[in-house]
Amino acid sequence: MVKQVTSLGRSGLHDWMIQRVSAVVLAAYTIFLLGYLVCGPDVTYEAWREFFGCLYVKLFTLIAIAALAAHAWIGIWTVCTDYIKCSCIRMVVQSASIIACLVYVAWGALIVWGV
């Protein structure tokens, strides 16, 4: 059993599940957005604002942002552990990527909830 402190999940299986579930959420959100762009009204500022003003769109967007952050966290962690052999550099890159993910989630929530 190999231990790790900077991964998102509690175990390999946990990370694996999060990555797959978040991928499904992101795929669903992409289809949802494409559906709106193709079938919805002309994209004007007012229409776009009205679309993101709906509570369910806000919730779905927030879930998608969280899924993107979780997906990126696990993905970058995996790439770092494959290619960065120096543990100091790895620690710095992993910490920076985790902070970036958390900042993007907070920033995304502020933007979506500000509409």
Partner: protein, 232 residues
Amino acid sequence: MKFQVYRYNPDTDKAPYMKDYELDIPAGSDMMVLDALMLLKEKDPTLAFRRSCREGVCGSDGLNMNGRNGLACVTPLSELKAPIVIRPLPGLPVIRDLVVDMAQFYKQYEKIKPYLLNDEPAPARERLQSPEERAELDGLYECILCACCSTSCPSFWWNPEKFVGPAGLLQAYRFLADSRDTATAERLADLDDAYSVFRCRGIMNCVDVCPKGLNPTHAIGKVRSLLLKNAV
């Protein structure tokens, strides 16, 4: 026929190099790469490589031939384009010429406890299996530990000390699937980290090169399914 063979003697060479050889091999010959290596060794006795059974059973002569891992004794020369480039198995330290240090590979194999664990009282004669239970082991027990699969796997190259590798995981599933083994929970707990199993990205290099035609990726999928079933 032209050959380029990886040569490295740490006692005399500063760095590895490729040495050119030429052999007269009649057209339509059914010689194997190992036969050619034996002829080359007659010409140049300093060339070092491992071999034993010369019929694909012992797994000693795993090599990289024209960029692809395989057993030299069951790889016909006629299947390879000249010049035939022969290198040691990639990703493992070279001891000399085509001989690699397999310690890391065996360490991962040892990690999965490749033996039956059973805490029930031993029966008078033996632990019996039904034909169906025995059939579960087909495609798993045949592995000869030649290391062709693990050394063709980039995940094993990057993390050989943490990722068990396709050969080890095929054997891990061989014991998880065995009806006589009672340590399933313990075995699964040992594998449930981010590296041991989950470093497999399913690129199937292992399946592509296995000289016994086994499917480690399928076995790894089964281990993942068992981990998932155990956890939900």
